[in-house]
């Protein structure tokens, strides 16, 4: 052993499981996270997995955090190393004084270990082989056995895990008892052969409250159900597929006519992304609330239709669960890298509304709101999630719904309004907000019909290539986008304890790491005001925030600081005043990273007088 003391921490540590894809470890690892949650201790788990079905390395990381920090922390206090392929890398990633848990059935040379960590060997293969004869059982129960051993090592209450297993296998007594048996096999072995507990411990607390544990994709899908989406067209793509799958599952539970049993929804797996967005546009044109879910490459394919949605003014909702690009990039790794691609998607002058939820609760709220916005603004609304929110369970406040809420169907001219003699021009700016009235097909025998097209037309939807007519239309679209500023979720500002000339802007899944980083920065003596942007177009408070600070850091998870580009572009600000803080290796950004990057820059500002920016 080294001279470094083993880490000692209660309810504040990171455990990482290194497994082989397809080994059935996912459910055991998730059980571990849920068990800690049931101890009343917040957790923040993350899947780190390859673009592969079987055989390649996969990791599952659980941050145990009584303080409730839900961003990734970085570093590993305990590595459960179950994958020989990644052994060396896994060992190297353990913090000094950390712990290594491994299958000690086969002896390993001492060179394969580090002397500054505590090594805990459990002969998992030997235990499973002596208990089970079926190869698949051996593989699956090995995962539960290591969970049992961890239960003893971390001083967890086995009854909590037993209860969770009971909930999971309710009505399947055989599976229930065999899993509980495996749990105790591992726990008993550890209690008899190892020093339990170790320095890392789980102690019952009351820090979870009424919060729920849900994946962002599932929450967004539920938002679509509550928001009244009736048509979903999608094409499978990681990491967005679980949105449509969850929508399907929710609809099957909640969306059938009680009298006939028939579906109050239609879900089509399109032949590709082009068809999916085409179906969404066709359905929305005809008055249904429709959406698709996709990721970066899907957005690329949809851009022609997105331009049509913008110019022909047809509602559409696209949930973009971002992954690392460009091209195929890293399909199973997270990034916030489609900001520019979505904000200006398609050719010609286009601008689109983007919503940036920070967690599943906001994903639910914003998803539901997206349908109101799409119909109110008659345009495409992007819900911008990413893999880190979408595919990971996240602790968040309970989902809420006001039963008095009615859907905002936007400006729809009805038969009665037409009969009253209201002047209907499809692209007529009646109210000065840039938003025209539309009619649904089939509304009236003689009034209100029009031709929808991607080519230029006048205010009455009549084809026209007159330059002034085209410019008039384009200017109205600008007015509409300005109107959107006050309809989309506003940024949230939090000021430092003391007045400061420094600010930080961030958004989406970066939020929990940013919130934690602020504490770390304050500990280093850096005060920053914060602004969490929740939508594009930017509300006027963004410009105010920029004006009030000498330097503003823009924290985001992409290489080119895309949000910063968008802010510069839309606000006409001197770019030097916006300092990019970017993280783009595909792993979720951490508080440590943010605090170091901003802290180092701040230190530099203090010691070296920075010449004011020259434009």
């Amino acid at each position: 052993m080294s001279d470094k003391k083993p880490i000692s921490s209660v309810n504040d540590f990171v455990v990482r499981f290194a497994n082989v894809n397809g080994s059935g470890s996912a459910s055991a690892n998730e059980l571990f996270a849920r068990a800690i949650l049931r101890h009343g201790v917040p957790v923040s788990p993350r899947n780190i997995f390859p673009s592969n079905i079987q055989g390649l390395p996969t990791w599952y990381e659980v941050r145990v955090t009584e303080a409730g920090h839900l961003g990734a922390r970085g570093g590993v206090d305990m590595m459960v190393a179950m994958n020989p392929q990644t052994w060396d890398k896994d060992i190297a990633g353990i913090e000094q004084g950390g712990y290594l848990f491994y299958d000690s059935t086969k002896p390993m040379p001492s060179t394969k270990f580090r002397d500054d960590i505590t090594v805990i060997g459990v002969p998992l293969t030997a235990i499973t082989n002596s208990t089970y004869t079926d190869p698949r059982q051996r593989q699956l129960f090995k995962n539960i056995i290591y969970l049992g051993a961890l239960c003893a090592l971390l001083d967890m209450d086995p009854k909590v895990i037993e209860q969770l297993i009971g909930e999971q296998y309710k009505g399947k007594e055989k599976l229930l008892s065999s899993n509980v048996h495996a749990l105790h096999l591992g726990r008993d072995w550890a209690l008899q052969n190892l020093k339990c507990p170790i320095g890392l411990r789980v102690k019952k607390a009351d820090k979870v409250g009424d919060r729920i544990f849900i994946e962002g994709n599932s929450a967004a899908a539920l938002g679509a159900v509550y928001g009244g989406a009736t048509v979903c067209a999608w094409y499978p793509i990681t990491p967005s597929s679980s949105v449509a799958e969850a929508f399907t599952s929710h609809c099957k539970k909640y969306r059938h006519d009680p009298a006939t049993g028939k579906a109050r929804y239609a879900i089509v797996q399109g032949e590709d992304e082009l068809a999916s967005i085409g179906i969404v546009i066709g359905a929305s044109w005809n008055g249904a609330r429709a959406f698709t879910a996709t990721s970066g490459p899907g957005i690329s394919l949809m851009t022609e239709f997105i331009g049509l949605s913008y110019f022909a003014e047809i509602p559409a909702v696209i949930m973009n669960i971002q992954r690392a690009g460009p091209s195929t990039g890293m399909p199973t790794r997270t990034q916030q890298c489609d900001i520019i691609a979505c904000a200006y998607a398609s050719h010609g002058d286009t601008k689109h509304v983007l919503l940036f939820p920070e967690d599943p609760a906001e994903a639910f709220e914003f998803a539901a709101a997206a349908f109101d916005l799409a119909e109110r603004l008659q345009t495409t609304i992007f819900l911008m999630l990413d893999l880190d929110i979408g595919m990971n369970h996240r602790l968040c406040r309970p989902l809420k719904w006001d039963d008095a809420r009615q859907y905002d169907r936007g400006k729809v001219m009805t038969t009665e309004m037409l009969d009253e003699g209201r002047d209907f021009g499809r692209y007529l700016d009646v109210d000065g907000d840039g938003i025209p009235y539309r009619t649904y097909p089939g509304t009236h025998p003689t009034k209100g019909s029009y031709f929808t097209r991607g080519t230029s037309r006048d205010r009455y939807a009549r084809y026209s290539e007159e330059g002034t007519v085209y410019a008039d239309n384009m200017q109205r679209l600008v007015r509409k986008f300005e109107t959107a500023q006050d309809l989309v979720p506003r940024p949230l500002q939090a000021n430092a304890e003391r007045p400061t000339k420094y600010g930080v802007i961030y958004f989406g899944s970066t939020a929990p790491a940013m919130d934690e980083a602020i504490g770390l920065l304050e500990a280093r003596g850096h005060q920053l005001d914060r602004l969490r942007i929740r939508a594009f177009p930017f509300h006027s408070s963004v410009a105010s925030f920029l004006a009030e600070h000498d330097f503003v850091y823009v924290v985001e998870q992409n290489r080119d600081s895309q949000l910063r580009q968008l802010i510069v572009n839309e606000n006409g600000i001197d770019p030097v005043r916006l300092v990019p803080i970017v993280h783009y290796d595909g792993s979720p950004i951490t508080a440590r990273f943010i605090a170091k990057a901003i802290g180092d820059h701040q230190d530099h500002l203090k010691v070296t007088p920075l010449r004011k920016a020259v434009s």
Binding site: F213, G261, K262, G282, S284, N286, F305, P398, S449, Y463
Partner: protein, 351 residues
């Protein structure tokens, strides 16, 4: 596509259909296609079919892609909503529209460039899904708007206006539609209104994916010697297997062609198709037979027209999805939102 309004006056004595509409009520704007274009004849046939069926014009949604053919929805049913989408992507837009409101009639108008090239996939998938629509391809074998390039339906060996010989094999959309499970498949010729009008009428009444390939000569770029989509060539090689009447519970539609043996097909909605068989051996209920028949005649350079296949008991996409009878676009929060009590239970299950 034009902004020249058609004069509104009309003869007061124009014949009216069952709903009191005249032909004029089914017309649209003035066509800007070339004089003599086959597409205008198809437009006239659509107008005629809708008039004869006494369809309420505004209950039709007419959807197209991009191209000469896709401009035509502007020229018929002026009181209907039209949608000129993007090149080749009419089928997905139509599918979405159909999902939103199953009560309307959906007319998809496309071209050979639209459907056999960029939109080949969407054509195929809308057919295989059984979308309740009438999908008409106005097939001239050439790109007219870009002035004369071969399309994917141009026959191998046929010649362009500039004398270039096409070396690629042709895609036969009718053969593909049969293969994909279309439940109403027909081919016709824009110059044969007597055959085309009842085909369109029958397709509109058909519940399911109806596909009609209409050979429609391009007067400007594909109406010369060497073209297999010219007026002369099609007239000379047209081999009609049948002609038909559509009966929808009113007086039979008058016909002006010689009677043969008659076969009556009752469709899902109670309408009847009276098939006047010109080829005594042809069976329009035999999908495989139709495919073989097509191939044999194609090898001889003949263009088989008529109702080639029909399944009178077809199901459509809404039946496959088991959707409610109320159009989805009419459902509101009370119908769709599970409410806060359910959400509380969901929250409780997530702890």
């Amino acid at each position: 596509m034009t902004y020249i309004a058609k004069p509104k006056f009309h003869h007061p004595g124009l014949k009216k259909n069952e709903l009191g509409y005249t032909h004029r009520d089914y017309e649209g704007k003035i066509s800007t296609l070339c004089a003599g274009c086959g597409h205008d004849s198809i437009t006239a046939s659509i107008i005629e079919a809708c008039y004869e069926l006494s369809i309420e014009p505004h209950r039709v949604a007419k959807i197209s892609g991009i191209g000469c053919s896709s401009k035509t929805p502007d020229y018929f049913l002026g009181n209907s909503h039209g949608f000129n989408s993007v090149h080749g992507r009419m089928p997905s837009v139509l599918t979405g529209a159909n999902l939103a409101n199953r009560d309307l009639i959906y007319l998809g108008v496309s071209g050979d460039g639209d459907s056999a090239s960029i939109g080949f996939g969407q054509f195929a998938h809308s057919i295989r899904r059984g979308v309740n629509m009438t999908y008409i391809v106005e097939n001239n074998g050439v790109y007219g708007l870009t002035k004369g390039q071969f399309s994917a339906t141009a026959d191998r060996g046929s010649k362009s206006k500039k004398g270039v010989t096409n070396t690629d094999n042709a895609i036969d959309l009718v053969a593909i539609a049969l293969q994909l499970g279309a439940t109403f498949v027909a081919r016709s010729f824009s110059g044969d209104k007597a055959q085309l009008v009842p085909l369109i009428a029958a397709a509109i009444r058909h519940k399911g994916a109806s596909f009609i390939d209409v050979i429609s000569p391009c007067i400007a770029f594909n109406n010369h010697a060497g073209s297999t989509k010219s007026f002369d060539y099609v007239r000379e090689h047209n081999d009609a297997v049948n002609r038909l009447d559509v009966l929808v519970g009113r007086d039979p539609i008058s016909v002006d062609y010689a009677p043969g043996s008659v076969q009556v097909v009752e469709q899902h909605d109670g309408s009847k198709i009276a098939l006047r068989k010109l080829d005594a051996d042809y069976d329009p209920h035999d999908r495989l037979g139709a495919m073989t028949f097509l191939q044999k005649h194609s090898a001889k350079g003949q263009i088989v027209t008529g109702l080639l296949y029909v399944d009178p008991d077809a199901e459509d996409l809404h039946e496959h999805l088991n959707t409610v009878e109320t159009p989805l676009n009419r459902l509101e929060a009370d119908d769709l939102c599970p409410g806060s009590a359910v959400l509380d239970k969901i929250n409780a299950s997530l702890r």
